[in-house]
Subunit: 136 residues, 2 copies
DNA sequence: ATTGACTCTGTAGTAGGGTACTGGCTTTAG
DNA sequence: CTAAAGCCAGTACCCTACTACAGAGTCAAT
């Protein structure tokens, strides 16, 4: 019950090139080959690609996903280390959220002081960025 | 009262290479040169680099900053077009915020079902990513 | 047997925002 | 005067996550 790379790509919802790229990056194992050199994949690889897709949706980078996957095959590793990585990722996300909220507040303040009618010389937005407004 | 590129870099808090990079990108004007070819900068360029830094902090890309700067020197452009760009940027930021909040919610849910004591086979985080948990 | 779809390797390009290096001048401090 | 520090142009390289070829071999259907 093996499949070629095109079938795998279709099943997993990714591009063929992406699969070969993941192979080069070490995210999926080097597959068995047919006599003529075609890659042969099992169902398990479909699941692995879906795992990668989900982890990406959760904001993990490919390198982090590689770490998660290597945890799975390491001896003596418990679920706790996975949880720890997830918690670190939550902290990262919190940092990004804070930074974006700061940006947004500054921009909202600026657009509110701006009536849109001033000449460019008096534009509060440009001036605030020029002179150092409520930022930093 | 002109300065060389190193001094400018120091004053503006950016790297020398970054200044030359901005010059290539058209974010700062091509400066006058000394007889021996050294770039000569005025105070105005310090302010421009600070403008660029602030705008980056607000989440504008270099291309967007270039547009903002070109608005400043275009005739017949009012403050309204600047305000409009800022508002579009606010909408972009809202989109990113929504996406990050979704990620965080999913990760928090996962870490809460995980006691950290399970074996890896039973790790709720890995399983959720493997099998399709509360995502999508 | 031939056509068309599929796969192979290897290399290069994309965007964004820089950083690093090479080899050769110039300027400045001692 | 000399040595160190600073500058020049041009090019290559970093990261992320792919994507796009080119040219050649393979497989399935007709």
């Amino acid at each position: 019950m093996t499949m070629t790379i095109g079938k795998l790509a279709q099943r997993a919802g990714v591009g063929i090139e992406t699969i070969r790229f993941y192979e080069r990056k070490g995210l999926i194992e080097t597959p068995l080959r047919t006599a003529s050199g075609y890659r042969q994949y099992s169902e398990a690889v479909v699941r692995r690609l879906q795992f990668i897709r989900r982890a990406k949706e959760l904001g993990f980078t490919l390198n982090e996903i590689k770490e998660l996957l290597s945890l799975k095959t390491s001896a003596g590793v418990t679920c706790a280390s996975v949880k720890q990585k997830a918690e670190k990722k939550i902290a990262d996300i919190d940092g990004k959220l804070r930074s974006l909220r700061r940006m947004k507040r500054a921009l909202v303040d600026l657009t509110q002081t701006c009536n849109g009618d001033s000449s460019l010389d008096e534009c509060p937005i440009l001036n605030a960025m020029d002179e150092g407004g409520p930022l930093e």
